[in-house]
Amino acid sequence: MNRLYLLGTAIVVASLSSTAIGRADTMSYADAVTALAKDCGSDIKKVCKGLNLGNNRIQDCLQKNQAKVSSTCTSTLGQVTTSIQQRQAAQTGFFKICAHDAAQYCGGMKGEGNILACLLKSKRVDNGKCNQAITDAGWR
């Protein structure tokens, strides 16, 4: 009886975790700025001509000229900014969150890329926080 109950729990947990695999809860940098280009591209060319993506110039310009900018662009700009920050936090967080699993399952391995590849292969990482951290960082 107990064993059956445990098996049932294991199946539920396994199916929950498999739905999370491959789906990043944060957006890639490429997808974030693609949304910016799509929803703000014409506004950028109109009111921010000659300005560049770096150093918040586009963001500052769109905010300063909000009255002339489409409402879709204004809302996308906010989402894009948040999304980029979330992805950065997730990528920074990976090393802290996965440090224990890396030492336990991939000890002695050299190189950040090799450690990630090892964690991705290790079945025992599947249900933990490290698993989610890899997904959030966009490294699947």
């Binding site: 890639s28 940098y29 490429a30 997808d31 974030a32 700025v33 693609t34 910016l36 280009a37 703000c40 591209g41 950028i44 060319k45 001509k49 000659g50 300005l51 560049n52 993506l53 770096g54 150093n55 918040n56 980029i84 950065q88 990528q91 990976f94 950040e112 890329g113 450690i115 990630l116 966009g138 490294w139």
Partner: protein
Amino acid sequence: MTTLGGKKMFIRQLRAGVALGLLLMAGIASAQQLSNQQLLSSLSQISKAAPVIDPALLMQEANANVGKGVSGQPNWSQLANLSQLLVEIDFENDSIAIEPKSYRTVGLIADALHHPNLMFYKFLVVGHTSSTGDAKHNLKLSQERADAITEALATTFAIPRNRLYSVGVGQEMPVDPANPKAADNRRVQLINLGRMK
């Protein structure tokens, strides 16, 4: 006026160790949409024999050879031996402003440079123009545009600045020397300079 970018975004993958002959062939290889996996795999092929390149020397050679070409220069001729790829990034006419349609390409580069496989590697952005227009102006504009790309990577996308280098070479290193005015020559080279010390 020249622009670094063409009409469409192309990627031509160049593996570490390719000779100039292969580089030319890459120009006629079928164009494909840039993807994160392609970026990672082409930039991660690190050869142990990869030369050490000093971007300051590249800049000196470019400045000393305006209108004469740099392909035969000691440092420029070494670049083909490094892991790299070509991308097209469009700019506004005679400006350092990246066209919104090319934001995605810069974002893809940021995704690749943040990946654990590459996160401790240094990268060089080289801006090229076609030979349309004045050679000296092309050199200056390509340097400013290469700077604009690294600036966006370092600020908007938070790649540590000490991992990024930028050099403009104007029209001095055409990918298609037989047709220096061809749009194919306007391109951005992204080169892996090796692991941070």
